[in-house]
C-alpha cells in the first residue's frame, strides 16, 4: 500500500514538473541548435549539438560585464532592502502596524511604468542615468516591499517572551534584535533574499530606460540577439540559459532554508 502511495506521489510530482522542465529543456536545446535547425518545421528532436551559440554569447558584446552589472544591481538592492526592511518589518510586526505594511505593498502593485517617467526626469536632472545608483534605487521598489511583507509574517511568529528573556538577561534592544531575533528568522531572510534577488535580476523595464551602455543588465542585453530582420533563436536561447544559471545556483544553495521559509510563511499568512 505504501509503495502505491509513494508511486502516486512521485507520479504527481513528475506531472507537475514536466511542463516547466520541458520549457527549460527546450530553451537549452534551442541554444544547442544551429539557426537552420531552429527554423525547421516540424521541430527537430534529434540534431547535432553545437556550442557555437554559447560561444557567441561570450564572444560578442560584453556578456560578462552585463552579468556583473546585473549582479551588482541585484545584490545591492537586496542588501539595502534587508538593511532597511528587517528593522521595518520587525517594527510593523511588533507594534501591529499591518496597515503600513499594506501601504508598502500597494507601492509595489502600482504598475511600474507609471514610476518610470518621473524617475527618468529626476535621474536625468541629477546626472544619474546609466549609473548603478539609479538602478539600485529603483530596484528597491521591487525588493523592499517584498522583504518587508515576507518578514512581517516571520517576526509575528516569534514569541514575545523570547525577546523579553533576552532583555532580562542584559541585552540591549538592538542586541536582542541582532543576536536573538535575526537568527530565529533566518529562514525567512533566505527566502526573501532569494526571491527578491530573482525579481531584481529579471527586471527589464527599469533597466531598459535607466541603464545605458555602461550599466546594461542581462535581461536587456539578451534582446541584442533580436535584430530588425531576424531573430537569432540559438543565441537568444543560449543567452537566456546563461542568465538563468546564477539565480538557479543561488536557489539550489539556499533551497534547504527556503523550503522551510516558504511553508512557514504560507501557514502563517
Amino acid at each position: 500500500m505504501k509503495k502505491v502511495q509513494k508511486a502516486a506521489f512521485y507520479g504527481a510530482v513528475f506531472l507537475l514538473c514536466i511542463i516547466p522542465l520541458f520549457v527549460f529543456l527546450w530553451m537549452f536545446m534551442t541554444g544547442l541548435k544551429t539557426q537552420a535547425d531552429n527554423l525547421a518545421i516540424p521541430p527537430k528532436i534529434f540534431f547535432t549539438p553545437t556550442m557555437q551559440n554559447f560561444k557567441s554569447v561570450f564572444d560578442q558584446g560584453h556578456f560578462f560585464k552585463y552579468l556583473g552589472n546585473s549582479a551588482i544591481v541585484a545584490l545591492f538592492s537586496v542588501g539595502i532592502a534587508l538593511l532597511l526592511g528587517l528593522p521595518a518589518s520587525y517594527g510593523i510586526a511588533k507594534y501591529r502596524m499591518r496597515k503600513i505594511g499594506l501601504v508598502l505593498l500597494v507601492a509595489r502593485m502600482v504598475p511600474f511604468i507609471s514610476y518610470l517617467i518621473p524617475w527618468f526626469i529626476i535621474f536625468r536632472a541629477l546626472g544619474l542615468v546609466d549609473t548603478y545608483i539609479s538602478l539600485i534605487t529603483t530596484h528597491l521598489i521591487i525588493t523592499l516591499p517584498f522583504v518587508i511583507w515576507i518578514m512581517v509574517n516571520f517576526f509575528e511568529g516569534v514569541p514575545a517572551s523570547l525577546e523579553e528573556a533576552a532583555l532580562i538577561d542584559g541585552c540591549s534592544p538592538l542586541q536582542a534584535f541582532v543576536r536573538i531575533l535575526i537568527p530565529v528568522v533566518r529562514n525567512g531572510i533566505f527566502t526573501a533574499s532569494v526571491l527578491s534577488f530573482i525579481f531584481s535580476w529579471n527586471q527589464f523595464l527599469f533597466s531598459l530606460i535607466l541603464s545605458g551602455n555602461r550599466t546594461m543588465t542581462v535581461p536587456v542585453a539578451v534582446f541584442q540577439f533580436i535584430s530588425y530582420e531576424e531573430i537569432n533563436w540559438g543565441g537568444l536561447a543560449a543567452a537566456a540559459t546563461v542568465i538563468t544559471v546564477p539565480p538557479l545556483i543561488m536557489t539550489v544553495f539556499v533551497q534547504k532554508y527556503m523550503i522551510k521559509g516558504l511553508t512557514s510563511g504560507a501557514v502563517k499568512g
Binding site: 537552420a36 530606460i209 536587456v220 534582446f223
Partner: protein, 443 residues
C-alpha cells in the same frame, strides 16, 4: 546636535539643487564656440553626441566606422543600440519625459513623424541644410530620392534625413513556377490564378502565397492591395475602410490566404510569412524589399538563388506599391545640433549609402544604385530592376495619415483577419470603418 544635523542636511540639499544649474552653466559656455565660416568637419570638435538606434543592418554597417567619424571631426559619439520594440519603448519614454539627453535618433517617418512633429520632439533641419558652415559641400542633397526626403516634410519643413528606402516586392520561387508552368503574374487575377494552380497542383503541399495576416502588422502590406484596388485609408477626413474598393481589396487579400495560404496566416507577421517562403513551402511572398538578403542567404534559406522579383500585380487602379524609410532625426532639445547634423551627413553620405546597398540595404541615394561598383557586383539584378520600377510608381502612404496610427491599423487589421477566416467581409469592413471614425472623432 540637532542643529548640526539640520545644518548638514541643508548643505546637502543646496548642493543637490545647485548641481543641475551648474551643469547648465557649463554647457552654455561650451556652446559659444568660434563663429565658423565655410564648411569644416572639425568645427564642432570636442563635443559629444548621443545617438539612439534600432538594431538594424544599417547600424551594423556604420557602427564599426564611427571611429573614422570621430577621428575626422573630433566629435565623440555615444551610440546606444536596442532591438526594435525596446528601442521604441525607450525612445518614447525619453521623449515623453522631456528630459532626454539624446541628440540623434532613428525614426520611421511614415510611422511616427506625425506624432513626433506634433509633440515638438523633432528639430527642423532646413537651416542646417542651407547653412554654408555646416552643409558638407559634397553631401549632395539632390542625390537623395525626393520621395524619401519628402517623407520627412511637415508644413514645408524637413525633419528627417532618409538612411534607406524600402518598397514591397512580389518575390516568387522560380523553381516552383517552372514546375507548375506558371508565368509571373502582372494582374491581380493572374496572381490568384497562379496561387490556385500551384496550391491545387501540389495537392496543398505548396502554398500559393504567404502574406502577413496578423492584425495591425498585416496592414503595411495589405495597403498596397488597397491602393491597387482603388481604395484609400482616408476619404476626405473620414475613414475609407468601408468603400467598395476597400472591401474588394480586403476580400481579395483574405481570400488568397484562406484558400491558398498557410493555415497559420492570421497569426503570421513578416517573420513567419517570409520563413515559410524561405523554406520553399510557398511559391510567392509579398513583403518588404529589405528581406532580399535573407531570401538569398543559403545558410538561412532553401530558396537562395531561385527567387525572382516583381512589382505588385496591377489591380483595378493599377500597380501601387508603397515606399517606406528609416531616417535620422535631431531631438528638438539637443544642445549639439550642429555636431549631430555633421554626424547625420556622414552617416547618410554617398559612400555609406553605396556600402549599404552592396550589403543589400536599399539605398535612398540615386548615386548608389547608379554606381558601376554596385552594378558590377549586383548578384540579383532582377531585385534591382523591380525595386527601381517599384519606386517609380510607389505611394508614400502606407500608414493611415493620422496621429493614432496604431489604433487605426488595429481597426483595419480586424477586417483583414475576418476576411482570412472567411467571415462576412462587408460587415467587418464597415465595423472597422466605424471604429476608425470613432477614433478620429475622439482624438
Amino acid at each position: 546636535m540637532k542643529r548640526t544635523i539640520m545644518f548638514f542636511t541643508m548643505i546637502a540639499l543646496i548642493a543637490l539643487l545647485a548641481f543641475p544649474i551648474m551643469a547648465q552653466g557649463q554647457q552654455e559656455a561650451e556652446d559659444a564656440g568660434p563663429e565658423v565660416v565655410g564648411f569644416d568637419w572639425q568645427s564642432r570638435s570636442g563635443e559629444t553626441i548621443k545617438i539612439m538606434a534600432n538594431k538594424h543592418p544599417w547600424v551594423d554597417i556604420i557602427e564599426p566606422k564611427i571611429g573614422e567619424f570621430e577621428a575626422m571631426t573630433g566629435i565623440k559619439v555615444e551610440l546606444a543600440v536596442y532591438p526594435e520594440d525596446q528601442f521604441r519603448t525607450k525612445r518614447t519614454v525619453e521623449m515623453v519625459s522631456g528630459a532626454s539627453d539624446v541628440d540623434v535618433f532613428m525614426l520611421m517617418p511614415g510611422n511616427s513623424l506625425a506624432q513626433y512633429y506634433q509633440a515638438g520632439w523633432v528639430a527642423p533641419l532646413d537651416d542646417l541644410m542651407a547653412s554654408e558652415s555646416f552643409l558638407w559641400p559634397e553631401y549632395d542633397l539632390d542625390d537623395i530620392f525626393s520621395s524619401a526626403l519628402d517623407a520627412g516634410v511637415k508644413e514645408d519643413k524637413h525633419y528627417t534625413i532618409p538612411i534607406l528606402l524600402e518598397t514591397s516586392l512580389l518575390s516568387y520561387n522560380k523553381e516552383i513556377f517552372e514546375k507548375y508552368d506558371v508565368a509571373v503574374p502582372t494582374t491581380m487575377e493572374e496572381l490568384e490564378a497562379a496561387a490556385k494552380k500551384i496550391y491545387e497542383g501540389s495537392n496543398g503541399q505548396i502554398y500559393g502565397i504567404t502574406l502577413r495576416g496578423k492584425k495591425a502588422a498585416a496592414t503595411s502590406q495589405w495597403v498596397d492591395f488597397l491602393h491597387s484596388f482603388g481604395g484609400e485609408w482616408l476619404e476626405g477626413d473620414k475613414s475609407g475602410l468601408g468603400t467598395e474598393a476597400a472591401i474588394a481589396a480586403t476580400d481579395y487579400y483574405g481570400r488568397l490566404l484562406r484558400l491558398y495560404g498557410p493555415k497559420s496566416a492570421p497569426s503570421n507577421s513578416w517573420y513567419e510569412a517570409i520563413s515559410i517562403f524561405m523554406q520553399g513551402k510557398a511559391a510567392m511572398v509579398y513583403d518588404a524589399s529589405v528581406f532580399k538578403p535573407n531570401y538569398e542567404d543559403p545558410t538561412k534559406s532553401e530558396v537562395a538563388g531561385k527567387v525572382g522579383y516583381a512589382v505588385i500585380p496591377a489591380g483595378p487602379a493599377g500597380s501601387i506599391p508603397h515606399i517606406s524609410n528609416w531616417a535620422l532625426s535631431l531631438y528638438s532639445k539637443s544642445d549639439n545640433k550642429e555636431a549631430a547634423w555633421l554626424f547625420v551627413q556622414w552617416a547618410t553620405s554617398k559612400d555609406i549609402a553605396l556600402e549599404g546597398l552592396l550589403a543589400g540595404i536599399p539605398s535612398a541615394r540615386n548615386s548608389a544604385w547608379d554606381s558601376s561598383e554596385f552594378k558590377d557586383n549586383d548578384t540579383t539584378p532582377e531585385w534591382t530592376a523591380a525595386s527601381i520600377a517599384s519606386y517609380e510608381v510607389a505611394s508614400p502612404i502606407w500608414n493611415p495619415p493620422v496621429i493614432p496610427v496604431g489604433e487605426c491599423r488595429d481597426a483595419a487589421g480586424s477586417a483583414i483577419v475576418a476576411s482570412i477566416l472567411g467571415e462576412d467581409v462587408r460587415a467587418a469592413s464597415l465595423a472597422a470603418e466605424k471604429t476608425m471614425n470613432d477614433i478620429l472623432a475622439n482624438q
